[in-house]
């Protein structure tokens, strides 16, 4: 599903939240679909069940997940409309990249950052 970067300064529970949201944005998980059980995901990721539980509970308080004790946790409808966010994000990114261009950042410089973020380099907040 995804993996945890234990070198990162970003807390594991936060990484779990981020990844779930990202997967939904990608369409890899659809709304009303059930998330892996807390204990299951914990063993999959190699972390403590409490850590996953914390992530789930935070996602629920954000409204991105609804949960039924005894059944499981499920992606809410609220998370489905990621398309608008992606378009908006593209526009913002375009403006920022124009600035980068005018300051003299090279495509390689940018690729470096992309690799760092997408393929598991250092993260900060």
């Amino acid at each position: 599903m995804f993996s945890i970067n234990f070198q990162s300064r970003v807390p594991v529970y936060q990484q779990i939240c981020d990844n779930i949201i990202r997967l939904v944005s990608y369409g890899a998980i659809k709304s009303n679909e059930q998330l892996p059980a807390v204990r299951r995901m914990a063993t999959d990721l190699g972390v403590n069940p409490n850590t996953v539980a914390k992530a789930y509970s935070m996602l629920e308080s954000s409204g991105y997940v609804y949960t039924v004790t005894g059944k499981g946790s499920f992606i809410s409808e609220k998370l489905q409309n990621g398309e608008a966010r992606r378009i908006e994000m593209k526009n913002q990114l375009r403006e920022k990249l124009k600035e980068a261009y005018s300051v003299g950042l090279s495509p390689d410089d940018i690729s470096e950052i992309i690799n760092e973020i997408y393929y598991g380099g250092e993260e900060n907040d």
Copy 2:
């Protein structure tokens, strides 16, 4: 000069480094200009001198600052020439790309925008 966000998960010494780089990129500090003394900046920011010392020493090992014991720490030439501006831009771009990542934008999505800006059209790499 600047202030520290003690609520942030970003370490104070890191914030100090970032801010100094940022100030240089804004032209608020020029190269060969002396930085405040470790003890002075410490009291200004309300932190421990050791924390500032750590920031300075990290900046030095990055080559952004040179230091003479007994005299002080100074901004190196390296940060002139728009280098500082590019560093700051990289930081901003990194934050934006993190957002893009979390929203589900793919590297290809981003490459498309980069090509559009840098090569003015529909080529891909």
